[in-house]
Structures are given as C-alpha cells and as structure tokens.
Symmetry: D2
Subunit: 264 residues, 4 copies
C-alpha cells in the first residue's frame, strides 16, 4: 500500500531489542506483575494496584474450566477428534463463546449499569432493581447472570465478592447484583447470582468496557480448552462419538489447596 500513511495502534511498541506493552518494558513486567495484571494492562491501558491485580487473577482462575459439558469444550473436542491441530481445535472451541455461553457476563453488566444509573438518579438501588426486572419481564426478556442449571449456590460467587471486598473494590454494581437477587427472592424465585453475574459485577467495579468482558472469559477458558483438547488427543480414540452429558470424572480426589505465604 505504497504511499499510504501508517495505521496506528496503541497497544505494543516493537523496536529492535525492545517490546513495550502500553509503555512498559515487557522484560520488566516479567517477574514483576501477574498475568492477571498484564491482562488488565492490555485491556485497560494501565497497571492495576496490587489488590486489583490479585482480583484479576481470581477472576481468571474462576473461569478457567467448568468440565466437559460446555459447548466450547464439546466443539473443541469434536474438532480435535478428527485429527485437527491444537490451534484449530482450540480456535473452534472459542467460536462457541457467544451470547448463550460466556456472553452472560456482558449482558449482565449492561443490566447492572442500567440499574446503577437509575439508582443514581432516584436514590434507591432496590427500587431500581425491581423496576428493571419489571421492564425486562414486560418485554419478554430475562436478566443474564442469575440462576444456574447445576449450582443453586455457586461457590465462586461468594468467593469473588469476598475478594472484591478485600481489594476495596466492592461498590454499587455488586450492590445492584445483590439487589436483583433479593428482588427475585422476595418474589419467591431462587435465582442467585451465578459466576457470570458475579464477574460482571466485579468487572463493572473495575470499570471495564462491557464489550471486553466476554474477552476476559475467553482468555481464562482458553486454558481449559487446551487441557481438554490435549486430553482428547492423548487419551481418546479419533472419531469417537462425544456424548455431551454421559461423562465421568476420574481425576484426583478432592484435596485442599496448600497454605501459602501472603501475596503468592
């Protein structure tokens, strides 16, 4: 494209013997910041403080895998079983992360932002949550991020909110999520905040753009997809019929996470 001006990008500057991500030397970042902090840096443009860095890692860890029933894993394993490369199978798995799988994070975030905006002008988060659910119901829609087909009390939700609180990042979006849960409870519906809803609330607290939230889920779940594709390639026969439900876990028995020194 002779003569055209160069096109701009503000992410990474590559020079001979120098790689700078958002202005930071990557060799300096290595060993200084966690991967969660690097993700935050890439997507928000600045490094997080240390508690937020740990919170980012916790969000990523929460989404790293959810067994072999989600459609991203089933499509990745199905592709892998035909003799595909690792990257083709994982790429095919990521294609399944959309509105109905992973995408609940973005949609829940949009709802929580609407509720918070409404509460900011009207002063009452519970009323705002109730009104928002009424509006959704009237238009035949449902709020994303509440209820789960397996978990009635998702262990990841409480943990994430606890960690957000510890990091000083618990605010009105988490309040809004709890208000929605309470409105459901008051109406006799057990639709607790699920992990998607909890991540949405926390990422709103961290001021992420909702259109990027699905991306954070994709980054985390890619790790699980790699593990599943590798297991499929190493352990299973090619072209097997992959049942989406009739599965059994035969890995390590339950075991406690070892205690570590603070900050690790």
């Amino acid at each position: 494209m002779s003569g055209s001006p160069p096109w701009p990008t503000s992410i990474t500057d590559i020079q001979p013997n120098s790689v700078r991500v958002r202005g930071y030397d990557i060799a300096q970042l290595m060993g200084s910041v966690s991967f969660g902090a690097a993700v935050y840096l890439l997507l928000k443009g600045d490094l997080p403080d240390e508690p937020t860095s740990s919170l980012m890692d916790a969000i990523l860890v929460s989404s790293v895998d959810h067994g072999a029933t989600p459609p991203s894993v089933l499509s990745a394993r199905t592709i892998a079983s035909t003799g595909a490369s690792l990257s083709a199978a994982v790429g095919g798995g990521i294609l399944a992360i959309n509105q109905h799988h992973g995408g609940a994070i973005e949609n829940c975030a949009l709802a929580l932002q609407a509720i918070v905006r409404s509460a900011d002008s009207n002063g009452d988060i519970d009323a705002a949550a109730s009104a928002h659910l009424n509006d959704l119901k009237a238009s035949g829609k449902r709020i994303a991020g509440f209820g789960h087909r397996i978990h009635t009390n998702d262990p990841r939700t409480a943990r994430l909110f606890e960690l957000a609180d510890r990091a000083g990042r618990s605010g009105k979006f988490i309040d809004a999520a709890r208000a929605v849960e309470q409105v459901f409870a008051d109406r006799g519906k057990a639709l607790p905040i699920n992990v998607d809803g909890a991540i949405a609330a926390v990422l709103c607290e961290l001021e992420f753009d909702p259109t990027l939230m699905n991306g954070i889920f994709i980054i985390a779940r890619t790790a699980g997809l790699i593990a599943h594709v590798h297991e499929e390639q190493q352990r299973m026969k090619p072209m097997r019929r992959i049942d989406p439900v009739n599965q059994i876990y035969d890995g390590p028995e339950p075991r406690p996470v070892p205690k570590r020194s603070p900050g690790s």
Copy 2:
C-alpha cells in the same frame, strides 16, 4: 447414546455447588493461586510451588503480545474488520498459531530434549549441541528458537533465564540452549536464543510435554488478540485494508514498572 458407559475426563469435576479442578475446589484456588499456577495445574495435574508459579506467570507475561505484525493479529483484525463477533475474530487469530508462528517453542523443545539425551549418554553438552546442529544441517533443516528478524538480543530471553535461575529451575535444558547459541557463535553466526527458544528451555525444565507448549503460547497470546480485536472494532473503520508492516505505535510513552512489595 443410551446404554453406552460414560466417557472419562480427569480435568474438572462438576457437582451441584462444587467445581473441582484436578481435585482442588475452585473457590479455594481463587485468591490463593495466580492464573499461571492455575494453568500449570490444568496442564500438569498438580499445583506448582511458589517460585514455579511466579515463573509460569512470567512465561505467560512474556508472550502476551508482540504488536500488530504477527499473522495471528493480522488474521484476527482482518476478520474483525468485516463485522465479526469478538469470539470469531479471536478464534480466527488462534488458527494462525502453528509451526511457523508460536510453534517454534515445541520444535525447539524437541531439539533441546534430543541434545540433553545425547549429552546424558555422552557426557558433553557442547559436543551434543554441535553434533545435533550438524545433523540438522545435513538434512537441510534448521533448529527452531534461535535468531529473530527484529531482535538481535531479545530482552525477554535474559529475563526469563534470570527468573528460572531465581526459581531454582535452571538446569540442563537451559544449558543445552546456551550450548547451541555458543556453537553458532563459534561458527561465526549471530543466532541468539529468542523468546521461543527461552520458553522452550524453561518449559522443558518444568517437565511440560512439548505437545502442550504451543498451548501455553496460545493462552498468553489470546490476551493480546482480545486487545487488538477490541482496538480494531472501536477505533478503525470496517473493511479497511490492513497493511501488515506500515504501522505506527501511538500509545503511552515509555514508563518504568512501579516497584512492588515482594511476591506481588
């Protein structure tokens, strides 16, 4: 598939209100281990010790992005420019991580393993490296992981070896990589270990299966792909011609990574 026995997976056990990755409760992992440690757990089956956990994060951080010229970024941005979803564009970017992009890690690891095996029986790592390079040359092949079209002295290599040493994980695979570099130097060729070679050597020290090493690169680079696709969607016009070279960085100026307390 009525009547078939369930098929086994040893990665994650899902029960009502319980998600256990390789036996560990995910809520316990959240806030206790870094994402790098979770990746190690998923792919190796056990949690790493703390220095190895930090080393895993450093490996992931080293590969998080390398600007907008790699083919994975160009394919992801090209797909994004047509109005694709985030997951389709990122999935399409991952399809470009293969033998010639990212795959150098696996191929370099296989070479280093061969050299170490040879040295283990013959006792001399330098002679083993020299003989391996001669063999490759005789069959018209090149060793992966050495030399770079931009970096003559890749800043990530020295840093990664320093961090491996600090974690007590510097051993004969890193020795083998250095021996290869020295053989090249003795022959008058400036082909220093590049970041792929350095990652290969360190992942060999951590006893990763080479077929998984490309996967670790994929996990890390997915973060960069998300950032590039988002920038393309937010900042650029649809259907623009994306020049693979004629680009300019207009992000933050160089800045130092802030000092942190140990272990963060």
Copy 3:
C-alpha cells in the same frame, strides 16, 4: 443422554446403504442434478425446475472468487502462511464473511422485501423505493447492494438479471432493485446495483429466506478460498508479509469461454 427422546432433523436420512437428502436418493441425484440444484434442495427442501437449477449454478459461479483482496482471502492466506492445514485456513477465511463482506446480500434482500411490501399496498414501486431510501437516509443508514469500489458497471449484474429473465424468474424484487438504482440516478448518484444486490434480488425471486443468503455466498466463495490457500501453500514462502493491495495477476491471458451444446 440415556432416556432422552431422539432429536429431529429433516435434512438427510442415513440408513445402511442409503443416503437420502430431503427424501431423494443421493445416488440418483448424482449425475441427474447439478450442484446448484443440490444446494437449492438442501436449503429450500425441494428440487428446482431446470431453468432455476441453471440459475442457481450461475449465482454460485458469480461468487466463486474475486481475487486476493477480500478479507476472507487475506485471513485465509495469512493463516495458511503459518503452516495451518487446508481446513483451518479455509475455516478462518469463512469467519471473515459477515455484515461488511458477503452480508450485503442479506441486508439488500431485507430492503428489497420492504420496498416490495410497501409497493404491494401502495401500488407504485418507484415511490416505494424512493420512500425507503429517504427513510434510510433519515436514520443515517445506507442501502446495501448498490455501488462498488472497483466496478461502476458490474458485469455480473446484467448477466444475472438476463439469466433470471431467461429462467422466467424476473419479477418484482428485480424491479425493486432497478427502481432503487433509478432513484439514485435521478438524484445524481451513480450507485448501480452490484453483484451482491443482484444476487439478493434473484434469491428473493426464488423465495429464499434472507438469513440463508449469506450461506449461498459462503458455499460459492469456499471454492475460491481453497484455490487461494493452495496457491499460498504451494507458491509462497511461509510467514511472508501479505500486502492487501500491492498484488499482480500473472495467470492465463484473457480467453473466451468455449461454446457448448445447450444445457451443459
């Protein structure tokens, strides 16, 4: 999924030594109908008459390739240059067929349908076209399928309408497309019907669901993608920089299509 009822599909029935597509034995279809007729059968559920069958082939032929500048080709070649398999490179190319590339067919069809509906109640296709363009303009939108950055008089458009006419399938959707073109001309704008608009009009005449029209383009263009990926793999070096514009055609000189007996 023991105990679940089987899930239904109405496309193809597989029995031992029998493959029936929409009820037709595939061995009987082979040699009796063209690929275009088979596509029509798959997507509409019935076989077309012979003139429509030829028209389907003409539509597919019109979209088979458009050189190496479209984003689907650039992403497919970029992926191929990294050592990807044929299917991964072609799959990655298809990911780039969306709203801004290929998708004009669907969007133009929706506009033509709206214009025809409006004319059906008001009686005047020209007034309906004019009003529709005014509405779009008022909401800051543009109609898809008109104008082209290279072709001022797309040779495929006239040919397609001629073949539709010969097949007795020229009706009010083609009239609507021409009315839109005329409105533009009357307003001093040279925005002739492009090949996407022409295909949209003809597929409306054939009563295809607009959500399937992008699919017909995908089928046709897959042929071109295979040719481009193969050329990239056979002729070009891995990891080359693929300029999106600075290309030169060096294939066969212009030559006339040989005369054939009717119906071939």
Copy 4:
C-alpha cells in the same frame, strides 16, 4: 509495504468492470458452465470438457451431506447453539474436516497412486495392490477409503464409477481401487470401496493434486453445513445438549428424482 514489488497470484484478475477467473470472463462463465466446472477451473486452471464437468458436479453432489452425525456437523451445530453467526458456525464445522473426516480422500489417493506407479513398472495391478496392502500391514497402517461403519455397499461408489465410465474417465486408478477391494475379498474381508475411496480414484483419473482433494470435499460439505446450522438456529433451542447419535429424521418421505431432459 512501500517499495516492495507486488506479489503474484494466478487465480483471478480484477479490473474495473471485469472479473476474469483463470482468464475467463466471469459473466461469460455464468450460465455457460456449471458450478462443478467452475471448481475444476479454479483448482486445475482450465475448463473441463462437458462429460468431466458433469462428473465434477456428481462428485460434489455425492458429498453434499451425510446427516447430523459427522463431527463437522456436530461442531457446527454446537457452535450455532451458543448464538454464533452463520459464518462462525460453518467455519467451525470446516475445522473438523481433517485426516479422520474427509481426509480419507487424500490418503486413499496417495495409496492408489503408489499402487499404479508400482503396477506401471511391474505390469500387474493386482500384485501391486496386494503388495501395497502387505506393506501397510507390516507397518501397522490401514488403507483409507475402504469399509464404512454404516454402509456395506455404498450406493455412491457404484454410481460414481458408472458416471466416470460414461464420461470416459475410468482408468487405472479406478482399476487399482477395485484391485484393492478384491485383495480384501480374497482375504475374507468385506472392505468395499467407500465414497471417499471412490472420489479419490475418480479425482486421480482427473489428475487432481491429492493435497486439493480434501478441498473438494470441503466445498461440497459446506452446503450441508449451511443447511444444518440454519436448521439448528431456526428449529432448536439455544444451548441444548446435542446428542451425537440419538437422532431421528423427520423430513420428506422417500421420493424419486424426476426425469429430466439430457444434460440438465
């Protein structure tokens, strides 16, 4: 990439108001040649004669769909069920066309070419076939393109050979395939030529490069994938569990292909 020379492509020449595929004006091709002939032109560089053109269409029609159990359909439907776009779901389906699904065509072709080469020097196709199978067995391999898990007598095979014969394209590669089948029969094994093997033999007769044969399957099957993804999107609920086996066909009853005038 200022200053670089343009890179060459020999597929399609785009000029204002002119699109020429391998030298032929696309508007002239439309209505003059079938899609099968256009595929042949794209991949071989020249137009086929009329009988070969019909044979190409028959090959494409033979592979257009095989129900909802192949992995390409299962991955495409799984991705579609998450809310993916048509192109993402179809692209994900194509990723599953590899060595174990579709790839049998290429592998069988390589075997048939080896047998024919051997017979060309030794004079006896049956001996060559027998020796080749012995060699494969000795190295623990199996020949691709023979036997099928559903069809003991694939109706597509006989039909394809009949059409090749009618087109005057039945030669030594088809002989080699039949010789292999006979060797198996003589050894008491019922491993008849399946559709992949038959396509491989015929494409060898047409002198296609084996690395392109998988591509011809991809083109054909893309049509089936479009139909399946559309059915999934229109008829099924999002995020359903897609059983790979427990399915029922509920489409049109068996019906005869209507008689047509010759050449249609």
